[in-house]
């Protein structure tokens, strides 16, 4: 395998991290909370598609749409039921609730699908791309890079150019002032959870296609990695999440290839620690001065 090969597969893994990190960072920016159940939405997305294909014999396209819809609705419902009542509670209470929701989703999945891993049949039908003898890029990798790039461009345009996008930026900066403009903060938070969960569903489907196995804990590690990516890029920053995710994926893959497979995760965490020592707000994070 060549360096280029590792780099490209790192890029595709990283763009999945970026998709998940976007959900973390947007929710943090708008609702000022860390939604630790976000990783488990990935798993729900994966299992929905798995069930749709294996039990209901849906076509891949219909299964993917079902997966995205289920996750979007789930994200909005979780926010309404678990987080909204805590809007004025301490951030610690919200954090503990989020961890509780995470365990709830994992245990529901254990109950329904059991503890052993299931084989996920990839939704990608594209053939591998053989560039030369050494360099073969799998269809999943190509699709992942194309899909995530398209989503990130669309999301950037949505947030910076559309009216609801600008309302989201306004709410993330100053909830009170946003309300004075007539922006419904609760609705904006719901939209944010919907978008974040839809992205997590896409990430889950791509991830399960790249690594074709799924169990109740499938979302856990990618969730944590994406959280690192979001912090690395500067939590609250949308371009930061994209950069952080892609960087982390590449670092992880290159460490696996050239240093050690076992140490790859440790290296990812070490990178986070080093970046935070040098720049505590992350790569693109802004220095926030608290106004009194």
């Amino acid at each position: 395998m060549s360096f280029l090969n590792y780099l490209i597969s790192g890029l595709s893994l990283g763009s999945i991290y970026a998709l998940i990190a976007l959900g973390y960072t947007m929710v943090y920016g708008i609702a000022k909370m860390l939604n630790f159940a976000h990783g488990d939405i990935i798993m729900v997305g994966g299992f929905t598609v798995f069930t749709a294909i294996s039990s209901f014999q849906f076509s891949p396209a219909i299964s993917i749409i079902t997966g995205i819809i289920v996750c979007t609705v789930l994200g909005v419902v979780i926010e309404k039921v678990a987080y909204k009542p805590l809007r004025n509670a301490s951030s610690l209470s919200v954090l503990i609730t989020a961890i509780g929701v995470s365990y709830l989703l994992q245990n529901l999945a254990l109950l329904i699908f059991g503890s052993s891993s299931q084989n996920f049949s990839s939704v990608v039908t594209m053939k591998p791309w053989q560039i030369n003898k050494q360099l073969v890029i799998s269809g999943e990798t190509i699709v992942t890079i194309i899909v995530t790039t398209a989503i990130m461009i669309a999301l950037t345009l949505f947030v910076n150019k559309s009216k609801p996008g600008k309302a989201m930026l306004a709410v993330s900066e100053d909830k009170g002032a946003a309300q004075l403009m007539g922006i419904n903060v609760n609705k904006t938070i719901s939209v944010t959870f919907a978008i974040g969960s839809a992205l997590a569903a896409v990430a889950g489907i791509l991830l399960c296609s790249l690594y074709p196995q799924i169990n109740a804990y499938t979302g856990q590690m990618p969730g944590i990695k994406a959280f690192i990516a979001a912090v690395l890029g500067g939590i609250g920053s949308i371009p930061g999440a994209m950069i952080g995710g892609i960087l982390l994926g590449i670092i992880e893959n290159l460490s696996k290839a050239y240093i050690s497979t076992q140490l790859a995760d440790a290296i990812s965490f070490a990178v986070l620690i080093i970046v935070l020592i040098i720049k505590p707000t992350g790569i693109l994070g802004k220095k926030i001065t608290e106004k009194v």
């Binding site: 009216k163 600008k166 309302a167 930026l169 306004a170 900066e173 100053d174 009170g176 002032a177 946003a178 309300q179 004075l180 403009m181 007539g182 922006i183 419904n184 903060v185 106004k291």
Partner: protein, 236 residues
């Protein structure tokens, strides 16, 4: 009938009563000012009117319509625009985007463009800097942006909270000039100020607040010659 009438509102922060039964009204076309020392409750009253802090009891009416229980995000479309203390413009967004957010609840594109050109006319500096990020504006420019943003909703009444705060005397005079012009263009103004001298100069009527109560009220010119007011708020 008054445009805005506040009837016996009581507001609490936890167990502390910040507003202890205040009533006042603002008539169509007036500039009314609330003056008082720091902590008298001036800002709290404005926040209560726009729904950011719900009152414990009392009645707030705009043209006879009760808006005491109306959520904050529905107030602006009823015709009340609030220029908050400290400007609170959206620092990361451009001047143009800030202004458009001011018209967030409006749907009439032509009307919005019309208001925008009027705002640019009143604040030529905002037009010059329309593509600049709001966080890079000076304090005075940010105040202008906050006022321009409020005017974008085409309000019946504009609530202004300490527009002179942190500005040089020259800029304060300019801002007050603009407030007068805004008023002359048909927007009623409720002005909260620590700079009582300037406020009493442009206002038609005034209310003096002390620790959550109105202690004096009347014609602004008369109040500015009142000995007690002079001693407490006008520096002798």
């Amino acid at each position: 009938m008054a445009l805005l009438s506040i009837n016996d509102i009581h507001v609490y922060y936890g167990v502390i009563e910040a507003i202890k039964g205040i009533s006042f009204e603002v008539n169509q076309g007036e500039i009314v000012t609330l003056i008082g020392a720091n902590g008298a409750g001036k800002t709290t009253i404005l926040h209560t009117i726009t729904g950011l802090i719900p009152p414990k009891s009392g009645l707030i009416e705009l043209e006879g319509v009760d808006l005491t229980k109306t959520p904050a995000h529905k107030i602006v479309s009823m015709g009340i625009a609030h220029v908050p203390e400290g400007r609170r413009v959206f620092q990361q967004l451009s001047v143009y985007d800030n202004l458009l957010l001011g018209a967030y609840t409006r749907r009439d594109k032509a009307g919005i463009n019309n208001t925008l050109s009027k705002v640019y006319e009143s604040f030529p500096r905002l037009k010059e800097r329309r593509n600049q990020v709001a966080g890079t504006l000076s304090g005075g420019e940010q105040q202008m942006l906050a006022m321009g943003r409020a005017l974008m909703s085409a309000p019946k009444i504009m609530l202004l909270d300490e527009p002179s705060m942190g500005l040089s005397p020259l800029l304060v005079a300019e801002i007050f000039d603009i407030i007068k012009k805004v008023n002359e263009s048909g927007v009623t103004v409720l002005l909260v100020e620590q700079n009582a001298k300037m406020a009493l100069e442009i206002a038609s009527r005034a209310y003096v607040l002390e620790t959550g109560r109105i202690v004096m009220s009347g014609d602004a010119k008369e109040l500015s010659t009142n000995d007690q007011v002079k001693k407490a708020y006008l520096g002798g």
